[in-house]
Subunit: 206 residues, 2 copies
DNA sequence: GTCTATATTCCGATAGAC
DNA sequence: GTCTATCGGAATATAGAC
């Protein structure tokens, strides 16, 4: 008669999803500080108190928002298995695929927030280091002494690309076809990962 | 900008300078939104009302803060005159010199603010396009059709470097010696400016 | 020139009615 | 489950006393 789930979760799942979606887009557009519970509630068409009812504090709501984020452990193996000389292109391609997808809104939210907010910056730093860079570099048999530098160089190009495409929206990078960016930026990442750091791969000075 | 005006400027120039310096560091540390007039006033050791007295609204104070920023028209000729094959390294070197200097605080303030704030993002966009990228590319005789893409690719790497070094503070880029970054990132910028965008300069595929 | 006092607005969060 | 009402605080900005 009443096909209830065991241990029913609080609240109407529909409303909860609506709030979460509104939070995701609002955080992505304005960052953690500028996005207010009230605006999120208005975007979801519910009362601000209801947001607290479902998610607790604003910080808890933010963590729930970025939690759906993609798991690098799932995606990276496909990037790392394959020709070592084109891993840069595959990494950029995966990066753009994720960020251009709906799930990318969570990443944009995190990036936007990391700038004005120390604890979100730490979140981003730890995500980059422990979830992405370490996995990538471990698989590529890099000289351990060079590993941190190579990792943060890759991060600088990737985050810069994300900044231009999703935050500052500088054209034509903001609207370029993913493959055009893969072709342009892939070799850069490739050099940061496996190339000579002091000289260009062509051996211009040699 | 123009220190000479016809009428006497209002206020004690000393106090004005102190407020401006406090505003610069506070904006650089926290971005436009998170930096409050009150903490700026506290850092300067004056009353919040005095800040308004000298600079008007918070937005006007911010503009005054970043106005002392370096003039690219002065610095870029030295970068552009010289061996065309090493202009990337010289550009990165100048970039780091400026951002590492006290004047760089204004740039950090603008970058931090551009993320959570639409009108500061426009400020940054316009500065990049009209003051830096256009000048650089005009001097290098680039195919006009490729100019916007090359420009925004350079911007993506530079802004990404600035994000890692000054905002997110990811090591070792955050503390690396400038010349190490010049050697590592210079070739990237060089390729974005004058190289083949689809293939690495070594002609890996050719 | 400098500061006190305050008007106004918005924030996150909670208590409790329905 | 949802919303009304509200508390306590911090923000920008202004008016005006000294």
């Amino acid at each position: 008669m009443s096909p209830r789930r065991s241990g029913r979760r609080p609240g109407n799942p529909d409303t909860r999803e609506v709030i979460l979606a509104a939070a995701r887009t609002t955080f992505a557009e304005r960052g953690f500080d500028a996005a207010s519970i009230r605006v999120i509630a208005a975007a979801a068409g519910v009362d601000p108190a209801l947001v607290h009812h479902y998610f607790g504090t604003k910080e808890q709501l933010f963590r729930a928002t970025i939690d759906i984020s993609v798991d690098p452990a799932e995606l990276l193996p496909a990037v790392l298995s394959g020709d070592r000389d084109t891993v840069g292109e595959r990494l950029v391609r995966m990066f753009l695929t994720v960020w251009d997808s709906p799930a990318g809104a969570a990443a944009v939210a995190l990036l936007r927030s990391a700038v004005a907010n120390e604890w979100t910056a730490r979140l981003l730093r730890e995500f980059l280091v422990t979830q992405v860079l370490r996995r990538v570099l471990d698989q590529l048999a890099i000289d351990p002494a060079e590993l941190p530098l190579r990792g943060s160089l890759v991060a600088s190009q990737m985050i810069g690309l994300a900044m231009m495409r999703y935050v500052v929206r500088l054209e034509p990078v903001a609207s370029a076809a993913p493959e055009a960016l893969v072709a342009a930026v892939g070799p850069t990442v490739q050099r940061y990962l496996t190339g000579e750091l002091a000289d260009p791969p062509g051996g211009r000075r040699a």
